[in-house]
């Protein structure tokens, strides 16, 4: 279980990005965090990942505080962030460099096959499409079999078709080890398609506005009336949260 307890984050320039934030995520839960830009959702993810530390409050995974990056917590960034000087398999192996070589090779090829990149193993990152590169980044985060997988708008720079494809793929991958997943996104449809629970954040300072547990059976259908109903509700919440409903509408 991951818990975020009364967390404040103030940046050195004085901006209060998060104030008094509370959040509990059960093991194996898929949580989506949505909100307009500047609501602190990416800050929250960086704190959980241990890349930044909170100004006040406490973040803990299974009772142990998170103060620095941990092996059990994986992170997929908005960009693939592959090392351009390493081939795809070498990039994926980054996450398990402490394992013996044969075990490493086996797990890397297994993981690349899982994300559908087996044939790209020896290629350079520059030879991959945006979707393939993000799959490789996903493989790099998953190869260490983390308990918690954090995703920071991982599909936001992809075209709609690739995005839909990767969303389904992500659910597939989740089925293997069922890690806890926290997905930060500004795409409401993505949140509803993937998450067990959706948290809506509001800015100035960043905090939780509402939560929704979508009463939708899996696999979810984006054209289902219940799905659309949830989407409208979240849109309304987001509109109130940001004060600019048009801006949110434009991103959906």
């Amino acid at each position: 279980m991951l818990s975020v307890n009364q967390v404040d984050k103030r940046y050195p320039n004085g901006v209060l990005a998060l104030a008094g934030l509370n959040l509990t995520v059960a093991a194996g839960e898929i949580l989506a965090v949505v909100g307009g830009s500047g609501c602190g959702k990416s800050t929250l993810l960086r704190l959980i990942a241990g890349l930044d530390s909170p100004t006040a409050g406490r973040i803990a995974l299974d009772g142990t505080p998170v103060t620095a990056p941990r092996a059990e917590i994986g992170l997929v960034f908005q960009e693939p962030r592959l090392m351009p000087w390493l081939t795809i398999d070498q990039n994926v192996a980054f996450g398990i460099r402490h394992l013996p070589a044969d075990e490493r090779t086996r797990r890397v090829s297994e993981c690349l096959a899982r994300v559908g990149l087996a044939s790209r193993s020896g290629h350079w990152p520059r030879e991959l499409s945006g979707g393939q590169a993000q799959r490789a980044a996903l493989a790099r985060a998953l190869v260490g079999r983390p308990k918690v997988l954090l995703l920071d708008e991982p599909f936001s720079s992809l075209d709609a078709l690739t995005r839909g494809d990767l969303q389904e793929h992500l659910l597939d991958l989740w089925g293997d080890d069922q890690p806890t997943m926290i997905l930060v996104t500004h795409d409401i449809e993505e949140a509803l398609f993937l998450a067990d629970r959706v948290v809506v954040m509001q800015p100035d300072p960043g905090r939780v506005r509402t939560e929704l547990v979508p009463p939708l059976a899996r696999p979810r259908d984006r054209a289902d009336p219940d799905f659309l109903h949830c989407k409208r509700r979240l849109l309304a919440d987001l509109g109130h949260a940001s004060g600019f409903s048009q801006r949110v509408a434009a991103t959906v």
Binding site: A49, L75, W85
Partner: protein
């Protein structure tokens, strides 16, 4: 076949080979190629060969006096004589050895200090101002001190060359480490890299392209400083040959030495560039039009 023509044909073969590997490494390369790969590289020979032939012709036709600026054929003849007596090989080896040693020490020191001062702010604050001040001293100004400290023989020469090589490497590495994309460094943090892993697995590979440029400019300075080092009293080496030619009034010897410097400098630079190109095939860089 003259020594020069031999060098030229060796270069041509090597350049053709280099251009073939480069073509293979770039599957996305869309520019049309000439029928003979490497043909375009030979364009570089037109200018020096043309100038040499023009001077040769001008002296042969008595339009110019070849006494103070000997013709290419006389320079080649001088080189051939020096080569036959074994003198040339001795000078070339002595100079190569000094450059190699000085380059090795300069690169080692520049790499270690550059990496340290690029990575740790405290180390940078401590050593960078001093090194920047030292950098501004013309290195030749050290010569009298180096002779006092290390004697007139090899040590002072190698150290002078190493000092010349050190600065471009140090400067470029420490600056380019600070320019490495924060986003890649964060990936290292997520995977809990140690300081050593962060340097060797992320920062150094990321700075490799500019490091190679620094190595090449360091090597160029090494060739420059070896002349200065050999001017300050040497019994062999191409720099000694220069002085010898001047003192005995033989311009062909001076030019033979200069030609050797040009050929050796170009060859070692080419060697460095082509070896390092193998490590840079991952780059997604601009391919200029032909």
């Amino acid at each position: 076949m003259s020594a020069h023509a031999e060098t030229a044909s060796a270069c041509r073969a090597a350049l053709a080979a280099a251009s073939v590997t480069e073509t293979e490494a770039l599957p996305g390369h869309a520019w049309p190629h000439t029928a003979w790969p490497g043909g375009n590289r030979l364009i570089g020979f037109i200018l020096p060969l043309g100038l040499a032939l023009a001077w040769e012709a001008a002296v042969a036709a008595h339009w110019a006096d070849g006494r103070l600026l000997p013709t290419p054929s006389r320079i080649l003849a001088t080189l051939a004589t020096l080569a036959q007596s074994g003198e040339l090989a001795g000078h070339v080896l002595a100079t190569l050895q000094r450059v190699a040693l000085g380059f090795a020490f300069g690169v080692a020191a520049g790499t270690v200090l550059g990496a340290v001062s690029g990575y740790w702010t405290l180390a940078r604050q401590l050593i960078d101002p001093t090194l920047q001040a030292l950098r501004n001293i013309p290195s030749i100004a050290w010569v009298p001190m180096f002779i006092l400290w290390f004697g007139i023989f090899e040590t002072s020469k190698v150290i002078l060359i190493a000092v010349g090589v050190f600065f471009p490497i140090y400067l470029s590495l420490s600056a380019s480490i600070r320019g490495v994309d924060r986003k890649l460094v964060e990936v290292g943090r997520i995977f809990r890299f140690s300081h050593r892993e962060m340097i060797t697995r992320i920062l150094l590979p990321a700075t490799l392209p500019s490091y190679v440029v620094a190595l090449r400019s360091g090597l160029g300075l090494g060739w420059m400083f070896v002349v200065a080092a050999e001017f300050m009293g040497a019994e062999d080496g191409l720099g000694f040959l220069l002085i010898d030619g001047q003192q005995t009034g033989r311009p062909a010897v001076i030019l033979a030495s200069i030609t050797s410097f040009a050929v050796l400098g170009k060859l070692t630079d080419w060697l460095l560039a082509s070896v390092s190109a193998r490590f840079l095939t991952w780059q997604d860089s601009f391919k200029p039009a032909e």
